[in-house]
Symmetry: C2
Subunit: 428 residues, 2 copies
């Protein structure tokens, strides 16, 4: 029986089988018209709405298990689906369906002196593995971005969300089938066997890219074990630097937002650097505004002098992504001092300067070596949607392939088309 | 003594030390004006010409050692430098110095409805490790491309070329110093200790990208052991497909060139697929032309019927990169049959169709999933210089970051600059 055969396959064989089906599907997807891919997403949105009761029932099983296992309330919250959350997923699908399709876009075109016409054209990457944790909406978001960019996906969600993921996955299969696309374009690893993650990470030549979406330990494990390329999203140890010529009104508004709007996202500011030339009474009112917003300040001795509520900052704090209502604060002598601090401690995600001096700002924007550098704006804008990409599969902090918010274009590669009329290459 | 300290450092410590110096140098290079980088290259070219006697003397040592070790004549030839080869290196430097500098180029720019101005701008990758084999010219070519794209490089050449590489490296240091750039922008691993390769491959966070330049076993080892991103160049198992509507005159000229112009380069055609509808007398004359050019034909039984000189092709042949005057040949029923063969056996480097039918050609160019796809042109055009890139550091066969010939642009990343006027992100 086929069922038994699958059960008896080793994790490596099972992953290879999925990857081969994905490869075949990816060849069809690579040629699929934009409208057909979009239709699959719209039909999936429709299926989510129609099957919402089933999806919520499956989710209730996962939530009950998590509660029985005394999971943290934050984790149960990430896991829990509601009608509103399902509607958000459905509308996200409709947004992605209307994004510009990068596949087939011409990146450059040139004619060589010998008459050869060269065209560099965007193509999908191929087969993408996505490894994620407890949030079931990733099943839909990640699959939608992968599909719309013409790629096949193999999804491996968290074991705690397995019933929710399976129910959501069925809607995606329904959307694909109704749109006339291969159902194997998106596959969900059907078991929670962790060996399948290892098999995915070592499927060289079968899987073209793995994207881990989750916490630090997941990303670290993926980077350690992977023999396939990884598009990783590491910490956001982000800085806001208040230059001496900053406008105090903007500073207070922007810094409080950068830290406190949502403390748990990767674009939140974690360290505040204040120029010694910035007026001390403005420093006081800034720190007070942060306290008022519920933020704990960890400061140097100098900071503690002007803010008696501030706790003592440690060396470890500068390298910590709090993801919480905590901010490490110090003075810097000048911009060079700020640049050194950032070069040493930034995780290369998002760093911002606040100043009214354009020349200083431009130097900061040119010098800071992070995926996103900002002038007079909240670091919380670090987001694919806010950047106008329509969505994001993550914010890449590496320097290879894609950097910063990654949406459809970041999920493509390119190829070179050469059109000739019988040209041969002369011997040099 | 410092010398002793260095000798006592472990390979990991030694590589970390080099990588840290490289990082500092890369920060200066990232901001260096185009003219200064170009000047360093032109001054290096000058130094190569002035020090040619010293370089040739160093090279003579390596050649003598290789001959004493009874290295193959091909290997000794790759190793040997001559005045003419030095002059080629010097002029290559001058060509690279005049290429368009990608650093600072704006990839896209948009203003968001909230007034935020987003600019995506090319920046160097950072610190690049290059591992290569016996050809000493790579010391200059690779260093020049890396430098011109604003990156720092750590070079690890073949142990058999160590004296040549050191002598060439001195010219690069001289060029850098005279141009006022940090000499640590390019570093040469000073010993032949193989453990340093391992240390380079695992220097996560210290080295941003490793590029292996060499044979299959080198690239395979690098891909297996690397914990840092790798830009790999794998085999060129390239196909030329003669469609039934091909022009026999073009076919003969192009196929002979694609196979025989230089058999040892990765762009050489290794398998020939002939449409059954192509006239049999033209097949005969094509195979005869290949024989006349010195090519061994390995064919199916059907091919052997019309070419008695042809040897028998084996299943293994279809997956072999001969890099020699050998060609595997079979008939295919039609384009779909050709596409299946290519999908199965191509290494994704370069595949070509010969036909006068534009519609068929366009289908081939769209369907074949290789870095380079060609119509009516010799696969031997697969080369950065021929593509107008001025040079190449290799032809990438992966699908991440860069694909096909890689020159300056492929050695860059980008960052997002966000210019605001105090915008804060609303709570969703």
């Amino acid at each position: 029986m086929t069922g038994n055969k699958i059960d008896q396959a080793t994790p490596t064989e099972m992953m290879a089988g999925m990857a081969k089906k994905a490869r075949l599907a990816s060849q069809i997807l690579a040629q699929a018209p934009t409208a057909q891919k979009a239709e699959a997403l719209v039909l999936t949105a429709d299926a989510i709405r129609r099957h919402s009761a089933d999806i919520l029932a499956a989710n209730a099983q996962d939530v009950a298990t998590a509660e029985n296992n005394q999971s943290s309330s934050a984790m149960v919250d990430r896991l829990r689906l509601t009608e509103a959350r399902l509607e958000n997923m459905a509308s996200a699908l409709e947004v992605i369906a209307h994004l510009e399709d990068p596949v087939g876009q011409i990146i450059d075109k040139r004619t060589r002196p010998n008459g050869l016409e060269l065209t560099r054209i965007r193509v999908p990457i191929g087969v993408i593995g996505i490894i994620y944790e407890s949030r079931p909406n990733v099943t839909i978001d990640a699959a939608a971005l992968t599909l719309m960019s013409g790629n096949a996906a193999i999804l491996r969600g968290g074991s705690e969300a397995i019933h929710s993921n399976k129910a959501l996955y069925q809607t995606m299969r329904e959307g694909l089938a109704k749109a006339g696309l291969p159902e194997e374009a998106i596959q969900l690893v059907p078991t929670t066997d962790r060996a399948l993650v290892g098999a995915m990470l070592t499927a060289s030549g079968l899987i073209d890219l793995v994207i881990p979406r989750g916490g630090k330990s997941l990303v670290a494990r993926v980077q350690q074990d992977a023999r396939v390329p990884v598009l990783a999203h590491l910490d956001g140890i982000n800085h806001s630097y208040v230059h001496k010529e900053a406008d105090p009104e903007k500073v207070e508004k922007v810094v409080v937002n950068a830290k406190m709007r949502r403390t748990g996202i990767c674009g939140a500011t974690e360290s505040l650097l204040i120029d010694r030339g910035y007026p001390v009474e403005k420093v006081k009112s800034l720190l007070q505004a942060l306290h008022n917003a519920g933020c704990e300040i960890r400061g140097t001795a100098e900071i503690q002098k002007i803010d008696p509520e501030a706790r003592t900052v440690s060396e470890e704090d500068w390298g910590t992504e709090y993801l919480d209502a905590v901010l490490s604060v110090r003075f810097v002598d000048d911009m060079d001092d700020a640049l050194s601090h950032i070069a040493r401690y930034s995780s290369g995600h998002t760093d911002a300067i606040l100043t009214e001096n354009r020349e200083v700002a431009e130097k900061f924007l040119a010098s800071v070596d992070s995926a996103i550098v900002m002038w007079n704006a909240s670091t919380q804008f670090a987001d694919g949607g806010e950047f106008g990409l329509g969505a994001e599969i993550g914010i890449a902090t590496g320097r290879i392939h894609a950097r910063g918010p990654v949406a459809l274009e970041g999920l493509t590669s390119y190829k070179w088309q050469v059109r000739g009329t019988g040209q041969i290459r002369p011997v040099a």
